[in-house]
Symmetry: C3
């Protein structure tokens, strides 16, 4: 098998004029031209819309054969084809791509293989896929899509237009807002990790809270969000979580914060709004991270951060032999610093005439 | 949707006197008072029991309206309401919470949608949930709960009172002890990662061992424990594993060791008893970690540890600009140290009168 | 329950002579002796074949009771029992173990509980397990095994002899080559993490590409490989991925590269052929890693690597108290280096007689 590019589904098409009107762009080009799909600049043909959101792609812009390219005002002059001039080309691209590549409409109703408790309340416009399990008292809102193999346990709530893609586990009493997307393998509401050591063995601390998720939240594949110990774990509106993220019990994530894959947040920590956590960041428990904090890749946060800004904590890569030499010196660093202090003392002594 | 606190299920109630007797507490307060639930100090009402296990919460103790609070002897005098005085308030809280918030009793029997091999041996008191699959020769013990969507492959064994919450995968010949809890998405007994490079391609090394798990083990959501290559991977009694932990083939984890989320243990490593591994710790393969080792968050272990104690290896966070300046210097550290040695040589020369 | 070693299934047996011929070994010993299983040196009995691929195990070789041991030429003289002398003992062991411990043959046909779209094309020699879901237009090749609870979405393709062990999710239009193995919980083709910030909220960027996986690829439990944003995410032939690895959208992994558990590769990065990434390595987005790069455990790659070799970036472990002293000095490292520069300036001044 030779890996090759995938052909993409596309809509019947729309004119550039209509796109410009609908998405508030200035159009430089023929408004009657039809486009039907989005594409990368170097692969786009006359029926496709591309975009430039990064100067890095200007070279590809010069040779593109796209029907139109979404650009910002500063870049428009360099566009060799029709230009859709937008304030925020990447967001405009996202909206146009959504329009041109719509998802298939959901089919209301429950697959006969789904196992649905008689006391669950399911909106007639919702879709429950094959091999799903819906527990007692669960509530499934309008146009909700519960994808194949998903489990929604007792008393859980999925609000309107939310989509569990497939094989998602939503545990008891978890509440998920509107327009959320949860990807396969995610587990929402498993027990938090609470154990009390007593007489040489761990005693399990019951995890009695739930998870409460706001609107417009996206949760990546195999991400886990634990239920609270007493109160709830809370994910506010507009939060975006990538794959394989771990959110421990009683964490609160502020609105519109985004986290890349493999981040871990330990118990009872609060993260502010509009934070950005790069891949593999780890935040210890019981901390407070204020709004607007950026944590660079694999940063380890062991104390609260009360000032917005960008924080780092990871050494760069070196060839192994070189790195090991420096790492060995790191183990002597305190001694080295003291040695320099002594030398500086001497040095200043020398300067001042040798007097101790 | 506005995220708000979740109301919790509760039992009909029990008197403080009975709690004191049952859990060996000294009671300061009216033994006839009923409580029915546990709650956080600041949210507790007269029907609720709170606890203080950390001086950090003393301020909340002062204003609590709980029916009673579980405290240690030193804290009892500061308790404004009835006090249940315990040697280990957190463990006592765990036990009282378990009593007041019991899990619903399991319903014996197999859901009609479960696919159960005719040669599997299932105790009549066990519960097999919807869409489960139980393989040939599997043995399911008394009062075992196999939650919805779980897969128990051929010849696997689940001993009495063990609970697979939902959507757990237990592969061939894996043996799990009594009273274990396994959370959704966990995979126990997938092939270890064994590959031999030959003539420019990897040859798969069959993974012929199994996984053997003791009693009272808890395994978090989406945690993976691989089967051994020849012998078994072994998790001893009382081990507690949080979410998204990776245990490679032929690892042995000693009794009562606890690991926080996203820890990874590479192949054939042995971890002692009563160790504590914080989040994201990584341990290389073929190592030995003795009993009683504490590994701080994200520590990377590349050599055996033969002495109990606390070990660390991760730099703290700084603002990105500052951090990068220091990280750049780290790359010069070996050179810097040599420079200091030379300077020290000169300095001592100076001190000793210029004599080499 | 006491954890003990697992007995392993075994074949009826084969003579050492036949093994030698079939796998190109030189045999020192009786060619008529039968062996029926592989075993570790210290547990092997006369019916078992062991191996030595590492000088570390020479001591166990001296006392083994195995029927035969696979060794290299240099080690043969030390073998106290029959020796199968191979150029690459570990690879030869892998092949002999595969022969002696064959997997049960797959049973063609679809389990009645599987939900299969009428437009899916399934080879008559393929096996579809219980509670699987196969979407519209999916194509399942010859001798493919779709294990229990797996989901293969619309238009996905699984080529000949590929095996989804159980509970694997393969999303729309993903294409998987021949002879691949995918372990439980893996999610292939979930949406990449694409979000554009606009007017204070994230706009989802549709993920329109797919995932294309070559031949002979193995994918570990709970590993996630996201679909591309516009083009595809590509995993070339012979790649081996351990558990809980995250591959972001539009990544390309070169042939025969192997990655240990919990590695994360961010979006649009290209990794070369024959690379080896140890556990928990993280690679930032939009980078290029050339062929033949070895990344040591938990290395963080934030720039492209254009030269083959071994790269590291993680400090060793120390006792917490000692480590913290050195880590505190790290925060002063830039200052310290400047101080040393000044001292060196003075020192050379002194040497040169005080002349600036």
């Amino acid at each position: 098998m030779t890996p090759t590019a995938t052909s993409q589904a596309s809509s019947p098409g729309i004119t550039l004029g209509e796109l410009a009107v609908r998405f508030g762009c200035e159009l430089r080009g023929d408004p009657a031209v039809y486009v039907a799909r989005v594409a990368a600049l170097q692969e786009a043909t006359a029926d496709a819309v591309g975009f430039v959101a990064n100067p890095k792609y200007l070279r590809q812009l010069a040779t593109t054969r796209a029907g139109a390219v979404i650009v910002d005002a500063a870049t428009a002059a360099r566009c060799p084809v029709a230009a859709l001039i937008a304030k925020n080309p990447y967001a405009t691209f996202a909206r146009i791509a959504t329009l041109l590549h719509p998802r298939a409409p959901i089919v209301p109703g429950s697959h006969p293989s789904a196992v649905i408790d008689a006391t669950a309340i399911i909106d007639s416009s919702a879709s429950i896929g094959p091999h799903c399990v819906i527990g007692a008292g669960a509530r499934i809102g309008a146009r909700v899509e519960v994808g194949a193999g998903s489990i929604v346990m007792a008393e859980a709530v999925l609000n309107a237009d939310t989509r569990l893609v497939a094989r998602v586990t939503v545990c008891e009493r978890v509440r998920i807002g509107e327009r959320c997307i949860v990807h396969p393998g995610a587990v929402i509401g498993a027990d938090g990790f609470g154990n009390a050591m007593d007489a040489g063995a761990w005693v399990k601390v019951p995890q009695l809270g739930a998870v409460v998720i706001g609107n417009d939240v996206e949760i990546g594949a195999n991400t886990t969000i634990d239920r609270g110990a007493i109160g709830d774990t809370v994910i506010e509106d507009g939060v975006k979580l990538d794959n394989q993220i771990q959110i421990a019990h009683n964490v609160r994530i502020g609105a519109h914060t985004a986290m890349a894959a493999q981040v871990g947040i330990a118990g009872s920590t609060t993260i502010g709004k509009y934070c950005m956590l790069a891949g593999k960041v780890g935040v210890a428990g019981q901390l407070e991270i204020c709004d607007g904090v950026v944590l660079m890749g694999r940063a380890t946060v062991s104390g609260s951060i009360l000032k917005p800004g960008s924080y780092s904590g990871v050494l760069g890569l070196e060839e192994t032999r070189t790195f090991r030499r420096n790492a060995a010196r790191f183990r002597q660093l305190d001694r080295l610093a003291k040695q320099v202090q002594r030398l500086s003392g001497q040095a200043s002594d020398d300067e001042s005439g040798g007097d101790p």
